[in-house]
Subunit: 211 residues, 2 copies
Amino acid sequence: MQVKSIFEGINDEDITKMLKCFEARRMQFKKDRTIVTNIINVKTIGIMLKGTANMIRYDYNGNRSIIEKLEENSVFGEVFSRLGNDISVVATSDCEILFIDYEHLVKRCKKGCSYHCTLTNNVLRILSSKIVELNQRLEILSKRSIRDKLLSYFELLANDKPNRIFLLPFSYTELADYLSVDRSAMMREIKNLKEDGFIRTNGRRITLMSY
Amino acid sequence: MQVKSIFEGINDEDITKMLKCFEARRMQFKKDRTIVTNIINVKTIGIMLKGTANMIRYDYNGNRSIIEKLEENSVFGEVFSRLGNDISVVATSDCEILFIDYEHLVKRCKKGCSYHCTLTNNVLRILSSKIVELNQRLEILSKRSIRDKLLSYFELLANDKPNRIFLLPFSYTELADYLSVDRSAMMREIKNLKEDGFIRTNGRRITLMSY
DNA sequence: ATAAAAAAGTTGCAATTGCAACATAAAAGG
DNA sequence: CCTTTTATGTTGCAATTGCAACTTTTTTAT
């Protein structure tokens, strides 16, 4: 999530107070370690303080799906995504995560601290933007062909970039898992898109040609 | 959405007060009328008081996607779904909808009315359950074959039903649009599923056999 | 620096899917 | 009640996709 995190607009002093009040836990994970088994079945949310991770799922055929890419300040957890039994979060770099129980976050403390209001609004904003993201992803996955999936994803990435040049946030292998298609079929389609003049590529730097 | 609506847990008297405070508008729509053009580009949310509707999108190939089925007490709007330029909501029966500006809903009024807290928590709960729904849909659409899409959707529907018998909430034509697949290919696959003993059907009443 | 591992890139082929074009059944509308 | 529309059900065929099996390139680790 691109959001400045849950504590945006709250001063450091208050954040420190809250973290104590919420019994927040700070944890560190090495690259390639699985993060989420620690918080499963609990209404806990994680805030990525440093590093990156992928939220992934393997289906019974062994196909990997990348559900979400987590970056700095990303917020994740069962409330934000369906962190079901078969979903895990794997660190793609060394990272540091803050865990907070969702209940603490939402249930206003009796003192009615002023910053609680800001906090709740932040959570609302995060949930809203999460919904927007999910809908974008749905729009992509609802395309019937690999070509259309690629094009609508690229359109999303190129949208606000000058000259419609953007950097793919994935490796091509990961991109296939993100789009839920076979990697080799996707590579073939990318080649076709290049030949048909829809895109130009230079590694992960892609230019989406204006039609 | 299955949620009891935004006002759950708030007494009728307070609701009436709030509706005035929020400048809520009540509108009626005949079957097959488009609802959403009225609220587009505005941070307005709709609460379905009576009737049903579909949230749909047509892509440039003319394929219809059913994004969501709206029922009584469903809440919809840009905050809850990405009601973009190409998305519309069409009444599938005569219906009555309450429109409220989202800003009013979230921004606590100065008086700090007690029920505002309940309201905010309700909105949070609705957004959370919306996210769960979107993730379920994503899980279905991320399946690589029509067969797996059907099976995971049926699994969802059968989950809490006795004998795993459930009623399809769609016509088969709509189901194809919901799963983003070709209708005839889907019908063929349903036939295969029957022949292979995975399901039994009687119209829209489907039994998902235990494996 | 070099070996090992991962990613990118290819290709043939079989399986699945979408498309078009139907027939039949059911529902809606007057 | 009859007509018209919509939904369901089928099928052949062409196009797309997934799968498997590779080679080449790039990255990572020692």
